[in-house]
Amino acid sequence: MTWGLVFEQLLNGLQYGVMLFLMAAGLTLVLGIMNMVNLAHGSLYMVGAYLAVALTGWTGNYFAGVALALLGTLLVGMAIEVVTLRTLYNRDHLDQVLATFGLILFFNELVSMIWGRGAQYASLPGWLQGHIDLFTGSRYPVYRVAILVVGLLVAILLWYVVTRTRLGMLVRAGASNRTMVGALGVNIKLLYTVVFGVGAALAGLAGLMAGPIYAVQPGMGELILIQVFVVIVIGGIGSVRGALVGAIVVGVVDTLGRAFLKPLLASVISPPAAEAAGPALASMLIYLLMALVLAVKPAGLFANR
């Protein structure tokens, strides 16, 4: 276990955290402003990934594929909002959970029907395939660095919009007091649609970036979605800042835990025991972290209300 290895895993953790952030930012705003539980957010992630694979293959051009995939995800998101979610805004959370659960089943199966149940191979253009040399002497994939950069740009962009523009002000106000914003004469419906659209696009972006690293297969959305929930619980509903902090923390803790908990344990207890307990404990880490945060701050670290 060298420092080079630790640094590499740290970078991996940050990269995973960035993906979690892209998902969490949209979801936390939808939760905070529209008070709406949307489980189908994971499906948008999956749609982004699948569309990127299909459209890159079809157009033969990486950028075209990515752009079209983003657009496609946005359209699918809009469709979901209009057809299903609109009827659920005023319903209680139970109804929202159940209805969006139905959507998940639908999308997972639809994707299976079109592409089969196995994993799809997402290819990368040549210029993203290489490695760069880290100062520690090890080599790190260019693509992962690209994800970090993109994520950082999005975070900065979101920060700018949320804190410096009028739209952002409405978003922040809506996240802490929805009825007030409506009473001020703001077009709530439009605000909802914009917020939801941005969230969908971000989820699609996360999905298409995830494709080449993680498996593109039915059900991929739900695996990350539940971790996104952990991020939001830790960060606080409605807070984009909370989503960023939570995402980085969860990403790093999870990645480092999976990589180093077993060897760490093996140095303390017997190797066979560590062999069994290590992976088990590593998989539980972020949930235990969530429980710890809740014990101290029941509404999350940056709760708005």
């Binding site: 959370h93 159940l98 959507l103 998940i104 089943l105 999308f107 949930y287 999350g300």
Partner: protein, 310 residues
Amino acid sequence: MKPRLLLWMVAVAVLVALPPLAIALGQTYYIDLVRRVLILSLAAISLNLILGYGGLVSFGHAAYLGIGAYSVGIMAFYGVASGWLQWPLAIGASALVALAIGAVSIRTSGIYFIMITLAFTQMLYYLGISLAEFGGDDGMRLKARSQFSGLIDLSDPVAFYYLALALMLLAVFITYKIVNSRFGMVLRAAKSNDARTRAVGFSPYPYRLAAFVIAGAMCGLAGALYANHTNYITPGLMSWQQSGDLMFMVILGGMASTAGPVLGTFALILIEELLKGWTEYWQVVLGPLLVLSVIFFKRGLAGMFYKPDA
């Protein structure tokens, strides 16, 4: 005699008559199918206690199905096949985990509660996958069915069926008593109007936690039964899909009613069986059906038969 009681008696009579009828008609598959429905009804009844009557949207209830099943499976793996030991462990372990998860989760409410219960169950799911000794992702075969010192032989499908039926009816009865007792009244009041309940002198937390533990324990028993039914135990039993299925069984039947979860389980499983026979991609039909049922069919099946309990 009250009409509701009469309906129940008719339903029980039909369920009791099913095995001999199925055997006579050469359709023994139905004994298996209905037995599966009965076992899952037990799980749905337990969820109805906290969801229907308590208003706790627990999206992680399948965890206890898994804990119950794995308790039986792991004990059998190590040579302990006695049901007298396995099943109490299944119930006890589920109750303990429910206590731990509930103690943390019930302090929260609304969206947080939903996400947290889901997250904890997912944690258990990942734990199940990581335990390579017990099959990990693939799960494990049940080494031997639970033995009850010759009292009942679970490898006899009919005997097992009647046991499942008896336990389900027992659960219905126990739940009925609980929700109409003083304890149940506080639980239902807290769901109906939390602020008013506090103003009157009740702190909802201990009541909700107790209900959560009872529900977990009951679901653990369902898990033990399920392991014996399928002879195979996988972490998928604890998946969020399974939790969602359980919730639909409660909703479709009509929440906060005694017959609701049973009706809902029958309905969901029968719809699934029908769709499965029709197409391999049955979930692509089921999904929208479920969405529509939520949007349009709020009261559930039980709501068609009688007015809600007051």
